[in-house]
Amino acid sequence: MATRDASDFDFEGAAAFEEQAQRERVAGLGPWRVALRRLRRNRVALAFLVIFILLVAAALAAPIWENVAGRGPLANNLSGKVTLDGEEANVVSLDGIPIGPTWQSEYLMGADSNGRDIMVRLLYGGRSSLLIGLSAALLTTLLSIALGTLAGFFRGVVDAMIRFTLDVIWAFPVILLGVALGTALSLGGLQVGPVEISGDSKLIPILIIGFVYIPYMARPIRGQVLSMREKEFVEAARAQGMGPLRTIVSEILPNLSSTIVVFFPIMVANAILLEAALSFLGAGVRPPEPSWGNMIDSGVDRIVTAPHQAIVPGVMLVLTVLSLNVFGDGVRDAFDPRAKVRVDH
């Protein structure tokens, strides 16, 4: 969404950009203020941010809708009936086909093959997917900052070891590693010292997704720290007698913030997509607890008889991921138009 790209084709655009940059410099604004100002002008990015916030709010409001619809996300209803235009209709027909969207409070988006209310599950599933997406992205970010900064700042053996570890993780396709870990862990759970995580805990997909994306973020951070440590301000810090830890905290980390801000929304988007992919291969959030991923998975299996079961959660997921990607694109344009952000999924 480069509304004002420095590299616009026509000369007028470029000139206007320069002029504007000049004005911003004269006003003496910090890089954050400049970026926020640019972001504020990007209406499309802001509109999608609003969509994302609304989606999060809807997921948080799941219990309210549960009351409206009158049933919980796990309540089966194979033999129940709903009143549609004054007529009674089976929630799940005798040959096992669930009812489609009713457009009323009960079964707004139809039922699934167990007679559960898809709308209620969609909102609760959104909680799972968003929780996993946000936590996994946070985990990736924290670990990438730690590894990237250590490798880039200390270089030498530390760098060689961290880089090698990242190369090994990188050599696995994201999905293959994720599914392998997910399948193995969901059977036996995970025991780290005294902490025991059971196999059906949501912490497992969070840990897996947070882990597999580390190289995608740690590598660019390492590169940035590597070039930063040669800059004058780091040298000045060293000359003042600052130790490595203080230099990292007060000089390096603040300068990484724009990279992190640019990466974060895109990491969340990819984490949500990976959760869905893991669920599709049977290694994500374990049913019956809903997540968008496992709802799409069960919908795909029954797409011929009840396509709404696959379409509804899929549209919700695409809308969420799209809103994060468009907003993330706007953030990148505002903070760092030259940033090379690329994540596989």
Partner: protein, 315 residues
């Protein structure tokens, strides 16, 4: 230069070794039940389990198990725990299918990405550019298996335009082969078209600001010639790098989701099935197979960069 290549190759072997150890550990250290019990079937006796344990070497220490398994990977004697079929044979069976998917999709996504990315850059900031940007973002926001399932349902099942999954040998009937692969190609390409066209667009815009483009324009070359000869050629380098890496990933079985949703029974789907059954030998072999392509293509890219840019060698 020779030293750089040797160093890179040693690193490659080390990464491959670590990948195999890590895969082995994932399935052997994380408690997932005793493979001997799983293989013994329903209500096994203790002696049966013990016999299987001895036969397959599950009673040996871990490092011995690892070494024997790896030996079998390289001699081609690896046998699946569940089907007892030869793993290498099964991978070889999957290769033509996976390769068909990879080659067609790679050509498709490159063509569209270049066309759309270039057009987007030429119209930068205008409506067409924004429209294509949104389209590209929608493309990278869709889970491929969902898109594939919808295509299967609407284009395959309902409209009956394309066949629902399956694979026909190229040698058997080339037209039917392509006909069966159209939907998988398109589904797999969507994501890559989204990524590549965005990268190309920003590369083209960056290149347009280079001095040599201004020089070309100053000496009076036509816009068309500037665009093709000077801008596009230089903007394509990073894209071609990505192309190589992603192609390697797909050939190695990385397109697990696409293969599964269209039931192509290629290397990727084989991997997914094996993981689901905790069948360690095929998983280990396929992981090595994929990692080999990823690591090899990475090394080739690094070496090519070192050839082109001497500064890289000093790192």
């Amino acid at each position: 230069m020779a030293r750089f290549i040797v160093r890179r190759l040693i690193q490659m072997v080390l990464v491959m070794f670590s990948v195999s150890v890590l895969t082995f550990l994932i399935f052997n250290v994380i408690p997932n039940g005793d493979p001997a019990v799983r293989m013994a079937g329903k209500q096994p006796t203790e002696t049966q389990i013990q016999a299987i344990r001895e036969e397959w070497g599950f009673d040996e220490p871990l490092h011995v198990q690892y070494l024997t398994t790896m030996e079998k990977v390289f001699t081609g004697d690896l046998v699946s725990y569940t089907t007892q079929l030869d793993v290498v044979d099964q991978i070889v069976q999957g290769i033509p299918r996976t390769l068909s998917l990879a080659v067609g999709a790679a050509i498709l996504w490159m063509l569209f990405a270049v066309a759309l990315g270039l057009y987007s850059a030429m119209k930068a900031g205008r409506f067409a550019d924004r429209f294509l940007t949104v389209l590209a973002l929608i493309g990278i926001s869709m889970p491929v298996f969902w898109l594939g399932a919808l295509m299967n349902y609407y284009l395959g099942f309902k409209a009956g335009i394309f066949p629902n999954g399956g694979y026909v040998e190229l040698t058997e009937d080339p037209i039917d082969w392509a006909y069966h692969l159209v939907m998988p190609w398109v589904a797999l390409s969507v994501l890559f078209i989204g990524i590549y066209s965005r990268v190309l667009r920003s590369n083209v815009l960056d290149t347009m600001n280079e001095d040599y483009v201004r020089t070309a324009r100053a000496k009076g070359l036509s816009e068309r010639r500037i665009l093709v000869r000077h801008v596009l050629r230089n903007s394509l380098i990073p894209i071609v790098t990505l192309w190589g890496l992603d192609f390697g990933l797909v050939v190695g079985g990385g397109a697990i989701l696409t293969e599964t949703v269209f039931d192509l029974e290629g290397v990727g789907q084989f991997a997914a099935d094996a993981i689901g059954q905790l069948d360690v030998p095929p998983v280990l072999a396929i992981t090595m197979f994929v990692a080999f392509f990823v690591v090899l293509l990475n090394a080739i890219v690094d070496i090519l960069y070192a050839v082109l840019d001497p500064r890289v060698r000093l790192q």
